[in-house]
Symmetry: none
Amino acid sequence: MENKIILSVDKSMRLIEILLEARRSLTLKEIAEKSGCPKSTVYGLLFTMLQHDVIRQDPDGRYGLGIRLYECGAAVSESWDISARIHPSLEKLAQQTGAGAFATYFDGRNVISFDRCIGSGGLQVIPEVGMRMSLHATAQGKLFLSMLPRSKVLSVLREDGMTQFTPHTITDPESLLSELDSIRVQGYAIEHGEFRRGLMGAAAPIREHDGKIKYALGIVGLFRSVASADFQQAVELMVSAARDLS
Amino acid sequence: MENKIILSVDKSMRLIEILLEARRSLTLKEIAEKSGCPKSTVYGLLFTMLQHDVIRQDPDGRYGLGIRLYECGAAVSESWDISARIHPSLEKLAQQTGAGAFATYFDGRNVISFDRCIGSGGLQVIPEVGMRMSLHATAQGKLFLSMLPRSKVLSVLREDGMTQFTPHTITDPESLLSELDSIRVQGYAIEHGEFRRGLMGAAAPIREHDGKIKYALGIVGLFRSVASADFQQAVELMVSAARDLS
DNA sequence: TTTCTTTGTTCGATAATATCGAATTATATT
DNA sequence: AATATAATTCGATATTATCGAACAAAGAAA
């Protein structure tokens, strides 16, 4: 047997993901289209999850993520020792560099920030907790992409597209792939104004005991330039903090 | 047909609930026992959810709630800017009264706490964020129940049951209904040891611009009695804070 | 070490049920 | 009121989830 996966459950999870990505409530029709399943099938799945408050139905009939997911989220973050493990490093990093420091998680497809510390510098642009980050235009995104095989990178890029956020955003897959090569070599990634004009950042991986990489540290700030001593030093501090956590 | 529920999905949701209630990772065997399904069935369901990071497997093989639920939780709470609006009032209230102050959300069926501030008093018993609260035995629960039509109240009580937490817990629907009447009149609810012996609390509604009520402020503490000046004053502060937020 | 015990994972036949399109109802738009 | 769009229900059918049992892996005991 190739497939141990239970299809109806698999589809249900897919529906949750669709609602998560949409970041808003959707109509049954929209969900059915995005999932590629017939309306009636989707209806049955949603109805079942509705009973468990995993899905909620707005007064206007749209479907959204339910309150139970909030409960679960609170429970997960509590039980999450990684966050506790990383948080002190974030504080130290934010304090040492003056930049914002944050931690992200990669599930093979999405980069999600799950903890952050605001630096001492005046203006701060730092991703919110729970935010999904761009793959091709942020240091975090590029770092995680660099760990994937070429074919996977291309398929992910095709799915997500390569939105041009600023004039510096890399929008050509080949250029990105060659940058991923150098990231793989140097062990960390840098972002200079590719997501927001003037915003610079860097990301370094946190290795698990088994060598797998699921988490990364990041810094982000309005540095003078990527060549400035400030930035270089901040990157060094971040890389060593990440190594210590590995 | 009586049943539109998709069984495998229903079971999956049940597994998530079991893991949520357990507040820790469980072995396959434990989950199978609690759910009443054979190990192999549970295994298939968990395996499927594992693929979606809705479930995670610890290095020791135990199963727990996965990172995707954290993402979902963050997405759900994001859609609530209400938290930012309320938080300052909670701090002020906690500081003024010395009791714990918290905010809850009602979705028509469940009362969930979503923010809290610990008061200055020594011993504090205050619901955790993400916690589901009893409907018939807490001030919050009674407050929200008082806004429902009689028939709805009865059906909710039938579904949830009226667990007797302490000797003071109201376990008779008619007694509860008459208390709901007075809550509706006075505009806030009081709890005196119905959930935990000696624990007193109160809840006041936050009205939206359209007059709908989805959120409530609450205080909880170990007051001498509901007639004590401390408590009376705390309730007044809470009621006016809630009115200001409305 | 070997044996015994416990738990996790795989397998396959079978009965059960999820699926899908079409019909129906509800809601919105003209 | 008529039309269009979306939500929900229904039922026959083939698909597939289910379960017990077999197997594997990991631990404990000896």
